[in-house]
Symmetry: C2
Amino acid sequence: MIHHSVGRPPIRLRLENGVEVTAAGAVPVATIVVRDRRTLLSLILDPEVGFGEAYSDGRITVEGNLINTLEAVYQSMSGLEYMNWYARIISRFMGYVQRNSLRGARNNIHRHYDLNNDFFRLWLDPLLVYSCAYFPSAATSLDEAQVAKMDYVCRKLNLQPGERVVDIGSGWGALALHMAKHYGVTVRGFSVSHEQVRWARRRAKEMDLNGRVEFIEDDYRNISGKCDALVSVGMLEHVGPEHYVEMGRVIHRSLDHAGRGLLQSMGRNRPRPFSNWTRKRIFPGAYAPTLRQVMDIFEPWELCILDVENLRPHYAKTLEHWLERFEDSAGEVSTMFGPEFVRTWRLYLAGATAGFRVGTLQLFQIVFARTACQQIPPTRAHLFYVEERPEEWEGSKGDEAPLTHVGLAEG
Amino acid sequence: MIHHSVGRPPIRLRLENGVEVTAAGAVPVATIVVRDRRTLLSLILDPEVGFGEAYSDGRITVEGNLINTLEAVYQSMSGLEYMNWYARIISRFMGYVQRNSLRGARNNIHRHYDLNNDFFRLWLDPLLVYSCAYFPSAATSLDEAQVAKMDYVCRKLNLQPGERVVDIGSGWGALALHMAKHYGVTVRGFSVSHEQVRWARRRAKEMDLNGRVEFIEDDYRNISGKCDALVSVGMLEHVGPEHYVEMGRVIHRSLDHAGRGLLQSMGRNRPRPFSNWTRKRIFPGAYAPTLRQVMDIFEPWELCILDVENLRPHYAKTLEHWLERFEDSAGEVSTMFGPEFVRTWRLYLAGATAGFRVGTLQLFQIVFARTACQQIPPTRAHLFYVEERPEEWEGSKGDEAPLTHVGLAEG
């Protein structure tokens, strides 16, 4: 029944009493071992929460590659209705409890991003860029790909020296600092994660950029003042679709009469919430929108969509790197937070990788602009032919990873 | 009152009795001369129809540059409600009369595209590509830019020899023939314009491509069979938003399990019909959608959006070329259809140019794919670094314009 409820994937299901279930004719990718009866019941009620909780507890183990296992399950589930009645009720309830009010959003962010900066340093790149990277070639390393992504964003926006940039969801500050250092702009970065802002401010000071980059611990809804360009990378996932109109109002209010911006976010091909498990254990209050839903931000203000790029394969690759590094540090993570936490985060990273591989998740990078904006060149050639770019601006001491010329194809 | 109703643009309005109106403080871009009282009334009821009809008749003349005049009016109207109650009623009524049923669509297309092939030859490029071109540099000619556009489309789709392509709205056949000739694919092109299909079939024969390119005089809703790639350039404008779900069904039905496609269409930043005049005199039944509306095509079938490019400045440039050529042939057009027709089409081409310049119109080129599609490279570098491409495939005698390497930046 459980096997059937997830669309009969090519996975062997082995129960505590030794009974095995496999889809007829399929060569199993892996074996999922279920160790007790309680777990069986929870798998029937809400397969994703049931599986997640039991995997974290050790009541379920996977013999075989975890990403491939989840890929096989997502594939086989793709034709099915996403949630049964029970999961839908829980989903609604969680949506309410985790709603992104000013207070709720701060709490939701706190639960993930304030875990511990040292923890994220174990498995992210050295600049702590916690969003989809950009791999110009298959051989690009994660560290290079994160710098490449930041530079790609700057070039898509065609940033000019002296311009004022707002970064909504500035994380540990890497993008804001990259912009100021290499493009000579001034940046105000907003985050509601106390730990992130603390870290980012220290980095700005170390890099002698604190005169041009300011990190502000506040909600995007409280942004005031104008900017020439607005950027938000990997933050829209925490806004919630019921706040997109509000977010659009903030963008409209902040963006100068000829401004432009870039929004990067996980997305979907059709509306679908994150699993109850993901929202319970990993990203409270999170949601990945379809392009149609994203238009709630732009349409009321007649903002032009200039460019949408789906970087889905790049996020699969980014996550593979993160998971590999995470596994290398599993011992240290376990010392920090215990073995259950290690399994929870392993499942999250593997599940996201599988989602981007299979295509239940997308990654949209969206360039938008006021109608009057003249800054974005009429072709994309400038993204790939880097003729001259200031490597460094006065007032910055560089200790970042070296710049690579991102767009230059090698394949 | 009339001047006020279009937002007080910097235009001088001169009436038959010599009275002049100008916005205070503004230097007028041009003078609009209104020659009788009837025209004044019609300008109040529905400014766009009133202006269009009177301009065609010669009851209104414009002293100054027509494009700049319309730009100024569109700019000044941008903050206003688009249509008054009278225009809205007419708009509804026209929407019904010109609805795109199988029969209605054929009639709507007939009224524009079946005018006379010789007429379109007077002012389009030699290959008769009647959609937005792609200008890799400011110096690119229209003829080059149309070839560049067709090649850009092929490269965005990453067409491979032997693949099956469906072209919805194949016009005079240039894109289908380009694909077959330079990318070795087989193409079925659909159009409901009898004149276009007749012309395209002759071209296929002349180019010895009739074994691999078939032009079918039929509605997109009657397409059967499978394809690896589906393309539709400048045809969605004639579908109507109430048929997008149906169009999506046709795409879903036609596209192979790992297929991909490209859709190019005029668009909007927010929903807004074409003016009553445009639908009455130029494009019956036409509509330019927002990106949100376009998603009606893709979302129900979980088609991934891989790439959206807004080519708005390219359409302004394309239209400038068309208008210039049109003016050069105005005498011949007048001999064909009379001086009123010349003024009607001059106003259409100038108005569209102004719309793309001002930003009331957008041009979206959208690449989409099945989730399982592996054909589209993970970066866009391949669009700009053309390493090797078969210039010609067996079974084709070339007499097209020479190929240019489109993406190679010159600016």
